[in-house]
Assembly symmetry: C2
Homo-oligomer: 222 residues x 2
């Protein structure tokens, strides 16, 4: 019975980290679609979101069965409930990918701001790297690593501010830039939140290891 | 034992709905601070967020104890886990109130757009009413009511689009309006998400009553 439970718990961890990787990929693809103005790719990201949602439902179902049938001890229960809550975060990050993909259709070709698109691309690479490291820290249950990874969110926030300032400057001097400027700022805002969610994931890693809630970034969302 | 559990479950529901009311109040106050340019009130909203966060931690602690010590049957377990997940949503709505309050400090007095501020005030009243109704439907476990309430989110979305269009128009004709215009759009965006979260709450009510996940608004966030 205990062995069976251990196996199922391990499976749950793996399926959760797979979901995290699916979401990371969705975000990267959405940004690629956005900055290369690739509407076909954007459509694929939007369609694929259902798979992410289904994975959350699958995790919920498995977690419920484990709690109801096997009545886990408190520490295991904490782990299962953490996965339940963290998978909600992942699902929301997937929704951000959809929002970024949708923004692709609003960009006006005659008022592209290439330097802003380069900045957004740079931010998405920081998010990707931070996210991959956080998934690894989760799998290794490495709380020290998680604390360090969370600091990377500051670089993301800094670049987002640069995007905002650059857009505002462009919009002030060129009325034609207004529509795209607001779209760029919105996309940067989604990436900023994505960084906050990755920080949350780092906090979950600390919570699982140390059993206490931490705040690795005072301005984070969760 | 069973009676004790029933009492605790009832307490959990009440404490959850209290948290919802705290969040609703925080959102209303943040919008009031924003559109009346009341930085003192904005500060209070920001400081008060800790109380909302503490309530989430309190609900989590109580839920854990109930699951671990009383090993509830599946239907009760579903209810407790739903409260756990929904309280994360509430906590995030509280963070949106903080973001709106913070925006108060960015508004430039010499480029106020009164018609936009009126629209934002109108949106916040719709959010308040929808939120209050959703809390009531939750307390009554009235799934039919919840389904109807969720439809109100469309009116919120419509007004948010009007805010966006009005801001873009102003920014195009007046470079001085650019900074405030982007701030107004961001605040409207937070209120739109708040409406999405209230829709989520309606979905939880349906879930608790009917035992199945529903999608009451295809563009919602959770």
């Amino acid at each position: 019975m205990r062995n069976e439970f251990e196996t199922e718990l391990k499976n749950l961890h793996i399926r959760f980290s797979e979901m995290a990787m699916m979401v990371n990929e969705a975000i990267q693809k959405s940004v690629t679609a956005f900055i290369t103005h690739d509407q076909e790719l954007a459509k694929k990201v939007i369609q694929n979101d259902q798979n992410i949602n289904n994975r959350e439902i699958d995790l919920e179902k498995r977690s419920f069965e484990m709690i109801a049938l096997q009545q886990p001890v408190t520490s295991d229960l904490r782990m299962i409930v953490t996965i339940l809550k963290a998978s909600s975060d992942l699902e929301r990050m997937g929704d951000h990918a959809v929002s970024i993909a949708r923004a692709t259709f609003r960009l006006q070709k005659n008022a592209i701001l290439p330097e802003v698109e380069q900045l957004i691309s740079k931010i998405s690479h920081l998010v990707e790297s931070m996210f991959n490291q956080a998934i690894e820290a989760y799998l290794q249950q490495d709380d020290q690593q998680a604390i360090e990874i969370a600091l990377e969110d500051n670089d993301i926030d800094k670049l987002v501010r640069t995007v905002n300032q650059t857009c505002i400057q462009s919009m002030k001097t060129n009325p034609q830039a207004v529509e795209n400027g607001t779209t760029y700022m919105l996309v940067a805002n989604y990436l900023e939140r994505t960084g906050d969610y990755v920080t949350n994931l780092c906090e979950w890693v600390v919570y699982l290891k140390q059993g206490k809630l931490s705040d690795l970034n005072s301005k984070n969302i969760g």
